[in-house]
């Protein structure tokens, strides 16, 4: 019980902490950004997991799928297939951008993949909007039944995150378009968010439209 020298860490020497490495350089900032992005991705993952859990429970408890009297989910062609293509192109473009080191003169190297990703992302949003419009025109509304509930809820929830991915990308495109530099880590962070949104779409695709 004597307090003498009762440190929490034994001897009073400067133990090499995590931030004991040379700090303040670009590598250090990149690692910080990737930790932050990993936490954010974990949070988004949990949100998707919860929504999919809700879908699973609703579906398991339903008297058959589609439940009696409800239309099955729409066919894969054209809506979900086109959306999937756009998502994959967008993710691939972001992956391409992330491998191109923006050091030095970033514009000529980074602009093509970032523009391609933007186009793919916008295309994805347009395809989703057309998909919802087409559903509404064919008489399928969110309150039509369980299958319709699931289709609308999951695709809207996913599209909101796709929209966030586009918002994260916008400052990068503007900077590169102006010719000012962007950090490699920023491109990598946005790319990782795009990949998560694409993976989430593939899960939604399989869970809602295929299974």
């Amino acid at each position: 019980m004597i307090a003498a020298a009762a440190t929490n860490d034994g001897a009073r020497t400067a133990a090499p902490g995590a931030s004991d490495a040379p700090v303040g350089d670009a590598l250090e900032g990149a690692a910080t950004l990737s930790v932050g992005m990993a936490v954010a991705l974990g949070a988004v993952f949990m949100a998707f997991a919860a929504v999919l859990l809700a879908y699973a429970i609703v579906r398991v408890q339903a008297p058959g799928w589609p439940p009696p009297g409800e239309a099955p989910p729409p066919p894969l062609w054209p809506w979900p297939a086109l959306a999937t293509a756009a998502a994959l192109v967008g993710s691939a473009a972001m992956g391409w951008a992330a491998t191109r080191n923006p050091g030095g003169r970033p514009r000529p190297r980074l602009l093509p993949p970032l523009v391609l990703a933007t186009v793919a992302g916008v295309t994805f949003m347009v395809v989703q909007s057309l998909g919802w419009r087409w559903l509404l025109q064919t008489g399928v509304r969110p309150d039509s039944g369980l299958v319709a509930s699931v289709i609308f809820a999951l695709t809207i929830f996913h599209a909101a995150h796709a929209g966030a991915a586009l918002i994260f990308l916008a400052p990068l495109v503007v900077r590169v378009g102006r010719g000012s530099g962007v950090r490699r880590s920023s491109v990598a962070a946005v790319a990782s968010f795009w990949h998560l949104v694409t993976v989430a779409w593939l899960v939604v695709l399989v869970a809602v439209f295929v299974a």
């Binding site: 009762a6 902490g17 039944g145 369980l146």
Partner: protein, 587 residues
Amino acid sequence: MTDASVKFVPDGAPAGEQLAPAPTSLWRRFIFSTDHKVIGRQFLWLGLVFLAVAGTLSMLMRWQLSHPGMPVPVVGRLLFPATGGIVSPATYTALFTMHGTIMIFFAITPILIGGYGNFCIPLLIGARDMAFPLLNLLSFWTMFAATAVLTASFFAPLGPPSSGWTSYPTLSTAVGAPGVAQTLWVVAIYLNGASSVMGAVNYITTVIRLRAPGMTFFRMPLTVWGFWLASILNALFVPVLAAAAVLLFFDRVLGTRFFTAGTAIKAGGDPILYQHLFWIFGHPEVYILILPAWGIASDLLSFFARKPAFGYRVNVWSLIAIVILSGVVYGHHMFATGMSPMLGESFMLLTMIISVPAITMGVSWLGTVWRGALRLTTPMLFALGLVFVFGAGGFTGLFLADILADVYLHDTFFVVGHFHLTMSAAVLLGAFAATYFWFPKMFGRMMNERLGQAHFVLTLVTIIITFGGQLVLGYAGMQRRLPDPSAYAFLRPLMPLNRLISNAAFVMGAAQLLFVVNFFYSLFWGPAAPANPWEVGTLEWTVASPPPHHNFAEIPRVFGGPHELGNPAVKEKLGRDYLAQNEEGPT
């Protein structure tokens, strides 16, 4: 987020590195500041305002429970003109809904996690700011938007939200709660969650990446451990609540059927599904609220017992064990839903296991105080009060963890007494301890000790009467959410107790005015605070009060733990009984 990282000057940058100068415009300094100290104060103000609002709502409820059907004195006719100042059953339902919602999401969360989390984490680990200052700013203003939406819901046509702070369907569906109020509630909760997740991203990253050289995880103050672990729970489980909120929003606005039960001709979802999603979040949430308070109390007990924290590592591992267990016990909130007995038994067992790390932590608190040279300052009194109140509340949790007892107690005031002792009284005592302790660092002035002690005594005594009395009420069978206990013959003998509880609650409410007076008086006229008024060694006390814009002129080098107190060798060499974390010490 990407933008923030581009602008941010990393901590501990090598000599010659340029720090952004402190902003000079009022706008950037006080409104849209990215300084964690300013954002912390913004969260604190916001939380204190809503604490007062939610506290007032509880006073109205207590009036109705002790004087059912009588007009509320003074403010009654102003607030409830339609009923001549009487709290109607519908109003009572709205009152407890808004009281719970505001206290949990808009008072405790902003004060402790938003306010002290922001203010303390960078200062205590030796960093110049959060990892993502712009995200931090966004987190506060998202919270602000959430409070605006929630405030609007008070004035919605058809009345304020009234389906409880849990907002279970079918009460909260478009059928059970028509009108825009419940939709606004859902939006407010979603925004609040978004703000919490942004904060969590920042806190987790800051602790992992921006600790000063030598500040190992096991040299961090327990306060930082509390905030860090609470942030991990926030990042993992608040998104589950957000998902439930989104689905409830779709159910209400688009007409989807996730939480609407099916009928013979139309398949439907499951109201109980919402309860699962809610409590998957909801049980970690109670630890999100209490973990920071535990961490703060653990540090303060050591500081004011002038001894190193007893079993620092044991304490940390207990916190970690509780964090892990908190994710797998949520089913004990749903024993009354008719879950499978096998499942219920697992949840019961896991819940009871939480008492092992909890009591381990309690023992290390007692070990810290044992034979210490106690300095009974106001922050220490509140920390000791927390230990007592949480102990009492924690033991009553064992009753509720047990399925058989819970089935009887679940819908009674016993539950109200239990969760108020643990996650409101104990947490608020922690928040007051933090305020009395860090006020000098935050605002550069000392608070009045005498007023603080009076505030403590009145608050502690009335807490015990109010919430202890509620345990008795519940054990005697009085239901929760009941607007008029005198309506039932079997509850009428409890009316004297209800009166006593209400009177204690009114005194508690009045006692908080001492805090308000103390806070504002000290803010303007309190004596100037020295850099280290409490004579403790954590890093925030090594800089001026209040700290300069970038906290540390030079990033400190850390040589020891946070509780270097009462070391005879130090006393002999330096003539004081504490050693700062950035001092090498006598060798």
